[in-house]
Homo-oligomer: 528 residues x 2
């Protein structure tokens, strides 16, 4: 093992110190943390060694979701610091979302000393077993002189295309034992390019004249590859689409847009009717979110052919650019967002509707905003309705595990402190990781939180209606969160975040414009 | 499979309906729930079939912790209803605590339809893999005509001595398919009695004259077995002790007391110095919570003999009674709590200290209160200081996964609505499952929440000091939750719970006395 220069000859380090120095050497300089007793030597090492920004979350779901949001915007991983199996467990739902987003995260879980684990003390749990299903790489460090190398391997694994969660379990004695060795960064495992054959074959499919759908995901949703996808579409009449939920889409005025597969299976099947071939670009074949009795779980025609241009771990931008070239597809201009038909129509007035909120967002969204959307049912108009807003990135709940939105906003704001983060947050989901507000206040993050307060699990009321018969009191009670009403302005104040309530579009526009100009966080409870 | 009478001949049920009817037939009539789309047919069945009390939690950690608190007080399981792998994941930490408490829970996790799972839709996760480490029994239902039998098996497994989490994963098509069959309850698997040989052998150990420790846990901590343990101790000079954290201890005036193994390894080793033999009664051998460099993880002398009177799954009360008889140990009177030396000293005045709070609790605790204690560092005086309070049960965080206290209080209050629940809650831990307050308001549960607001992870500051050197800003920042200060009165108000702040012992006593007389919940933020 080569020793990195950040360790001086003859310098004695413990395992924790070698770990921190290795992470820094590998470019990991941000740690979202909720430490416990078994991590005290790691905390002490963070204290002694300058260079790591530590951001505290009051709950592990905040920590892991923030690490996800950070890497989506920073394009490099943060570390987490979690406490034992149960601390990991609290962070699993957002690690599940990160897995679906293919987000690189160096997920560090402090744990019992190697020799203490067999004694089955109260906090001992199956840390590895819980980590593995969300991780591309899982390892329990065993020795202080190897934990540096373990950390370098974790960073490499997390960053290997397309990105994923690398879980490093860190027994406390591995931290406190002397003999730590700082490891050099391992070479990045970049995305391999697709073969020339694959490009040629895709060009043949596209020239076949069959109604064709190109499904784009992952890094294909950045500005340049989207432009190339539009060259392909214009040259071949292929249709472009993305999954319903994506880690990050670059969009807004001057950028190419792509529709999403609708959430509703019926709407999705209607949209994809007539498709004869589906070409996947870093995406899985479309699938409905849930199954429903008697309905196909695939939203495309049963006899459509499924082809793969590029797998998720391949270089998607390169594949699209080469395919466009192979088709001889000329550059196409971005559709003009300034035409009256699609231009922002100014501020909406009056009653709060999904479309009205989208209109006001479209008019007022700051340049280069990061929109974190976990709007669930009410937000149906937000995505299409903000197509011509100022250029922005749009981050979504990728794994369906609600409670991602506010943590993602924390992480994004840490990653890109010069950009405003706008969190469009359903109330029921927001309560899952409401502790995020405290971290926003503590770090004075530039986040505008818009809580869409409908005071019910509205999406489930729709689903229940689909099941049949008139729902009775028991069912309605299980889907109604309005008894008692949550008061989000008080919740925010309880965690040090200023807030106010909007009940119509005029007050929303005033508050939204004001909030986006402030330093630090502000919460708007939008009663819908 | 015998069909239970609650299914009429010729009656057609879907799987969900047969499941609900089977649970009711098995005596499970309370369901803590946070449902999602895949559970809509189960929700619809709960709606159509009367008899199940459904209690909604806004986060799954509330749901699973409430199911734990419920069964600790009701001595029978509740059901949970969780949504897919990530919903389970959010509830795992409190299921870990329930596992350590040996609490019976019928843990129902709705999931993707059997035929949808292979399609790997966004919410699909390794539900079974996550459930197994906390469960004594895990099964994924496969067919509507078998899910009734699955449910009966789950109840039997959860209740098999000493009790545990039985996880039943419920694909949505198993719920909606027709052909459900209600299953009859399976015979309970009661705790087997220890053999006559084991009793005789234990009597010989106790008569040996060696300094002996009896470690009591689980059901040995109820009133009658504690009295028998005291007969044994009085007759043999054996010392009695319990683990630091226990699911439920019956205590207070007129009842026998037992000390706990101290949390600190040094204190525990000092207390157990000189012990030559350890006899386990439903307890594991004592172990320190964490390992520390150079210190033994066992708090008893290395050469002490470890003996087992009864394993956790055996009948502990019977074993203690028979052992006391075998020793010819006469009944002993409960130590008189009314002597001046130990009687409550009235209400404490002035500054808020751990001892002062214990004194006031001791004076004001309502008869038959259920005390849920997650006081972490500040609560050191609470347990010894309330020995002579009115008779009560004391429930603790058993698995070290913080965030159990408020959910346990929810569940206990649902289980024993005629008793006051007093939650002694550290602030840092309370934030983990702060959503519990909303359920308390919604169900108007008789809970007095006392938040011990020290605005730091105080226990970790102690641990950090143990690691060495003066902590710097990075370390202190990671252990300080006072920037910004949490305002618990506002947090409570945001969820519909009335509250007030106490800054000295006089205001605390006034608020505590008032709160305990009210209907419904009240929160006291005690600034310490």
């Amino acid at each position: 093992m080569e020793t990195h220069q950040s360790q001086q000859p003859g310098q004695t380090l413990n395992g924790a110190e070698s770990l921190v120095k290795t992470l820094l050497a590998c470019g990991v300089d941000t740690c979202f943390a909720n430490p416990g007793t078994s991590e005290m030597h790691f905390v002490a090492a963070l204290d002694r060694i300058p260079g790591m920004r530590c951001v505290l979350g009051l709950f592990e779901g905040v920590v892991t979701g923030a690490a996800d949001g950070y890497a989506r915007m920073a394009d490099k991983p943060a570390a987490t610091l979690l406490h034992c199996g149960p601390g990991l467990a609290n962070g699993l739902a957002n690690l599940h979302n990160a897995r679906r987003a293919q987000t690189p995260i160096v997920n560090i879980i402090g744990d019992q000393a190697t020799y203490h684990r067999p004694l089955d003390a109260p906090l001992t749990a199956d840390t590895e077993g819980w980590a593995r299903p969300v991780s591309v790489w899982t390892r329990t460090a065993q020795r202080a002189d190897q934990v540096g190398a373990d950390a370098a391997a974790a960073v490499q694994a997390a960053c290997a295309a397309p990105g994923g969660v690398a879980s490093l379990i860190l027994p406390s004695d591995v931290c406190w034992d002397e003999g730590g060795r700082v490891a050099a960064p391992l070479p990045p495992l970049a995305a391999p390019k697709v073969s020339p054959d694959a490009i040629e074959q895709a060009a043949r499919w596209l020239r076949s004249g069959q109604p064709t759908l190109l499904v784009l995901a992952g890094t294909a949703l950045r500005e340049a590859p989207l432009a190339d996808a539009h060259r392909i579409a214009a040259a071949t009449d292929a249709r472009l689409i993305t999954p319903m939920s994506n880690a990050r889409v670059s969009r807004g005025r001057g950028r190419f847009a792509v529709e999403r597969v609708p959430y509703s299976g019926d709407a999705a099947r209607a949209k994809l009717a007539g498709i004869r071939q589906v070409i996947l670009v870093g995406a899985p074949p479309p699938v409905t979110f849930f199954a429903y009795p008697g309905k196909s779980p695939r939203p495309y025609p049963e006899d459509a052919q499924i082809h793969v241009l590029a797998r998720p771990e391949q270089d998607l931008a390169d594949a699209l650019a080469r395919l466009a070239d192979a088709l001889g597809a000329p550059a196409v201009p971005v559709p003009d967002g300034a035409t009256p038909a699609v231009a922002p129509a100014g501020l909406a007035k009056g009653a709060v509707t999904s479309e009205a909120v989208a209109q006001t967002l479209s008019a007022l969204l700051p340049e280069q905003a990061v929109v974190v959307e976990e709007s669930v049912s009410f937000g149906r108009a937000f995505y299409p309705g903000t197509l011509h807003a100022a250029p922005h990135d749009w981050l979504q709940l990728t794994g369906g595990a609600i409670g991602a939105g506010l943590p993602l906003a924390v992480g994004a704001a840490v990653a890109v402190p010069d950009r405003r983060v706008v969190a469009l947050q359903a109330d029921g989901s927001g309560m899952y990781t409401v502790q995020s507000l405290w971290t926003m206040a503590r770090e004075q993050l530039d986040v505008t939180v818009v809580v869409l307060a409908n005071r019910k699990y509205a999406i489930l009321l729709g689903e229940l209606a689909g099941v049949g018969a008139n729902p009775g009191k028991t069912a309605l009670d299980m889907l109604d969160i309005g008894n008692p009403d949550l008061d989000w302005v008080k919740l925010a104040a309880g965690m040090g975040v200023e807030g106010a309530r909007a009940v119509d579009m005029e007050s929303f526009a005033d508050l939204f414009a004001m909030a986006n100009k402030r330093k630090g966080p502000f919460l708007i409870e939008l009663v819908i």
